[in-house]
């Protein structure tokens, strides 16, 4: 036997035959168990056919995708951009037709937009751009709250502009914004009262800008509501919604980033600061 065995690769010789035979045997047994039996019967898909079980064994499953991170669908928090076209449409709102549309709103937001419920915002005196944007966000599903989505969907953009013009012109609601737009002086980071400190100085360590830079008093920004005189419980609920991510219609996440870092006590204090006296659980501007 040994004398014959001089060609390492000739299959007529015993050692190559043993070597290749065992190699083939090992490959077949390992393959059958690994890709047939194991993948088919040990994984929880009892209805796998042979081909699918081989794919399972190779790591190719039906949920295998290309080698990229899962990416959430591209989604804009709002459809509104403050272009001259948008502003022109809002400015052209017809308050008379708006009064007719506003009949739909009175049941909740009160006669003339002056809310009598703590959780529902007063609209009288609110900037028309703010109302228009929120209606648009409700219509597109970017802001979700109760019946507002359905209400907004029943309105055309022109209806929205009209009703916004109507509420903006109403009296006895939110205080009129003065012509003096310079933030109040004498308020600084050394302010002991946390609400006042946040409103007028913010908290640079947490990256929180002063609320008053956009929401008054003093500073106002297009599309951001002036908060003075608003319902305190409503403000507090909105802060909580931003913090928890249930309200997401703030562009660049500006409100979500701020609200996430506020403590519950701070949210409460801020709501009380801005809120109309008697509109929250704590009466009056207790921190003033």
């Amino acid at each position: 036997m040994m004398a014959r065995d001089q060609g390492s690769f000739s299959i007529d010789n015993p050692w190559p035959r043993i070597g290749w035979g065992m190699t083939a045997g090992v490959i077949v047994v390992a393959g059958v168990i690994g890709f047939g039996l194991l993948s088919r019967y040990q994984q929880n898909g009892s209805n796998l056919d042979l081909w699918n079980s081989i794919c399972r064994g190779l790591g190719v499953t039906s949920d295998s995708a290309s080698a990229s991170e899962p990416r959430p669908a591209s989604r804009s928090p709002t459809q509104i951009a403050w272009t001259s076209g948008t502003l022109a449409r809002i400015g052209a709102g017809d308050p008379d037709h708006g009064a007719f549309v506003a009949l739909n709103c009175a049941a909740c937001h009160g006669q003339g937009g002056v809310s009598t419920s703590t959780l529902i915002p007063t609209l009288a005196g609110m900037d028309s751009t703010v109302i228009y944007k929120q209606l648009d966000d409700y219509r597109s599903g970017n802001r979700l709250w109760g019946v507002m989505g359905a209400m907004a969907k029943s309105l055309s953009p022109q209806d929205s502009a009209d009703v916004a013009a109507y509420f903006a012109a109403q009296q006895d609601g939110l205080p009129a914004i003065g012509s003096n737009r310079i933030p109040e002086s004498g308020r600084s980071l050394r302010e002991a009262d946390p609400a006042q400190r946040l409103v007028f100085a913010g908290d640079p360590q947490r990256g929180i800008p002063p609320c008053s830079a956009c929401h008054g008093p003093g500073g106002y920004k297009l599309g951001a509501p002036a908060l003075e005189g608003q319902r305190a419980a409503y403000i507090e609920r909105q802060l909580a919604a931003f913090a928890q991510g249930t309200r997401e219609n703030d562009i660049f996440q500006q409100m979500r980033i701020v609200a996430k870092q506020l403590t519950q006590d701070e949210m409460h204090a801020l709501a009380a600061f801005y809120g109309m006296p008697g509109s929250g659980k704590v009466a009056g501007r207790v921190f003033r």
């Binding site: 690769f9 190699t23 490959i27 064994g57 790591g59 080698a67 991170e69």
Partner: protein, 547 residues
């Protein structure tokens, strides 16, 4: 002194010079992770130390020892001078330079990668270049081993290659196959990133390539010990090798079965399918075959020696073996540790049971028993055998050498048994600091302290080793006894070509590697359906001067 002897001696000097500080680091690491107070109580130092300890033990000592042993075996078993001595010296210095580069990179604190090449851990390019030179330099040795065996076969047609030479060539081939993974990983993935040429690392690809090396490298470490089992132990015991063919089959099986199995290190990785992991788990079980064959052959050879020495009865031959010989004592201690470690290894390689102990101190215990215990104790015995033959100076003294071997054995047992238990309790490995006040961790405290005692005993043993070797080196020269290899009971006159060369077995390795790794590596290039690339964004590790 013969030129090949000087080569062997220099390689062993480097290996053992690195060995002692590496053991000291290991002992300190055990203290550091225990509840006991440790000097230099700094986690960063711990991770750098793990890197240094592992790099020294796994890459430097083993590579240098195998190379030195290979040169000695070539010259003595073929009974003619080594061919290509100049190339061998070039390889020695390339490896030495690589070692120095890697060690300096670690000491400068810019290569704390836990001695593995697993991204996203990333080291300074100096470390990777050093490792590349060390592995690349050893390829010169690989070529020389193959060249010397082929040249001898050409000059002695029809004669069987001596078993020792056949085995060391198998070792060289195994190392060439094994190193291909890490070389491709270094050149293709790690160095480009470390040099700042790329910003992303395909972590899955890099880990898969390293797994090609990771398990076969262990058998590269193991082979010199097995060569000693087959060719030196029966001679030292005063008997003969039970079977020459069994020896050849053992080394062939190591070459074939230790390669397509590395993915059992990646059982917890997401980038490979369960079927592929099972295939490699299945193949891993075949590695037990050559070890079981060896245990049988060695016990049979020792029994032959015992009966020749007049031992009677079922077990009487054990008592009359020359236990005063370090080689005989070492083989017994080695087999005990191989038994314990092998048992743990069966758990590691089992696809299902692996998840019980994956990345726990159980794994550390396993490879310390197999490599640090069973293999390294044979390195000691080989050194005790070779040193006097090479230098002509007798060992001073055999009693001290026996103490050293016993201490190493007990130190390793005391260190690793607690690790096995804490591993089952869930203690992760490669972690510097544990909160022993945590109720989950607290029961591990006493066990870890016991292992510290084992570490101290190991350090003592390592010091003794150096003492014995240095004392022998400075002794008088009055010994002329060349290294002799054990004859088989039936010395082979002719051997089938397949058992006298490696052509067939290399072809089989290629087929098995394609079966085991073709798809797992190919998927990264063709399907791209795998774990996402890691973007490694931390600051580039290159020195400002090099950039």
């Amino acid at each position: 002194m013969h030129n090949s002897s000087r080569l062997a001696l220099y390689h062993c000097w480097v290996a053992f010079a690195v060995f002692l500080p590496a053991v000291a680091l290991g002992a300190w690491q055990m203290l550091m992770r225990s509840p006991l107070p440790a000097p230099l109580d700094d986690p960063n130092a711990y991770y750098a130390s793990v890197t240094l300890h592992g790099t020294a033990m796994a890459y430097v000592i083993t590579t240098f020892f195998a190379m030195g042993f290979g040169y000695a075996v070539t010259a003595t078993s073929l009974e003619r001078p080594l061919r290509g001595v100049a190339a061998a010296w070039i390889g020695f210095f390339i490896c030495l330079i690589g070692t120095v580069m890697a060690v300096l990179a670690i000491l400068s604190g810019r290569a704390s990668v836990l001695y593995t090449f697993y991204p996203p851990l990333l080291a300074s390019s100096w470390y990777y270049f050093g490792a590349f030179l060390l592995v690349g330099g050893s390829m010169i040795w690989v070529v020389l081993m193959i060249y010397n065996m082929a040249a001898w076969k050409r000059d002695n047609p029809g004669r069987p290659v001596p078993l020792a030479m056949f085995a060391i060539t198998a070792t060289a081939l195994l190392w060439a196959w094994a190193a291909s993974g890490v070389i491709i990983e270094l050149v293709g993935v790690l160095l480009p990133r470390a040099l700042g040429l790329t910003t992303q690392i395909y972590a899955g690809l890099a880990r898969t390539l390293f797994s090609v090396t990771l398990h076969a490298i262990v058998y590269f470490w193991l082979m010199p010990a097995y060569i000693a089992f087959y060719t030196l132990v029966p001679q030292a015991a005063g008997g003969r090798l039970y079977s020459d063919t069994m020896g050849r089959l053992t080394f062939i099986m190591f070459l074939v079965f230790s390669l397509p199995v590395g993915m059992h290190h990646l059982f917890a990785d997401p980038e490979h399918g369960a079927g592929l992991k099972f295939v490699q788990s299945f193949l891993t079980f075949f590695v037990a075959l050559p070890t079981l064959l060896t245990v049988f052959s060695i016990c049979a050879s020792l029994e032959i020696a015992g009966r020749v020495r007049g031992g009677r009865g079922l077990l009487g031959w054990i008592l009359v073996l020359p236990w005063h010989e370090p080689m005989v004592l070492a083989v017994a201690l080695s087999l005990v540790m191989l038994g314990f470690g092998g048992f743990g290894g069966l758990i590691n390689m089992s696809y299902a049971m692996n998840s019980m102990i994956h990345n726990t101190s159980w794994v550390t215990a396993h490879f310390h028993l197999i490599f640090g215990g069973a293999v390294v104790i044979m390195y000691f015995a080989v050194a005790y055998e070779m040193w006097p033959r090479i230098t002509g100076k007798p060992l001073r003294s055999k009693a001290l050498a026996r103490w050293q071997l016993w201490l190493w054995f007990w130190g390793m047992i005391i260190a690793t048994v607690p690790w096995h238990i804490t591993g089952l309790m869930g203690q992760p490995r490669r972690v510097a600091v544990f909160d022993y006040s945590d109720p989950f961790v607290a029961p591990m405290g006493p066990l870890v302290i016991i292992s510290v005692v084992g570490g101290a005993i190991l350090l003592l043993s390592a010091i003794l080793l150096i003492v014995v070797l240095v004392r022998s080196q400075f002794g008088e020269r009055h010994l002329e006894a060349p290294l002799r290899y054990a004859l088989a009971v039936n010395p082979p006159r002719t051997v089938p070509a397949s058992l006298n060369g490696f052509a067939l077995w290399n072809a089989i390795v290629l087929v098995l590697m394609l079966f085991a790794y073709g798809y797992p590596i190919g998927q990264f290039f063709f399907l791209k359906s795998s774990v996402p690339a890691y973007e490694v964004t931390h600051t580039s590790a290159i020195a400002a001067g090099v950039r």
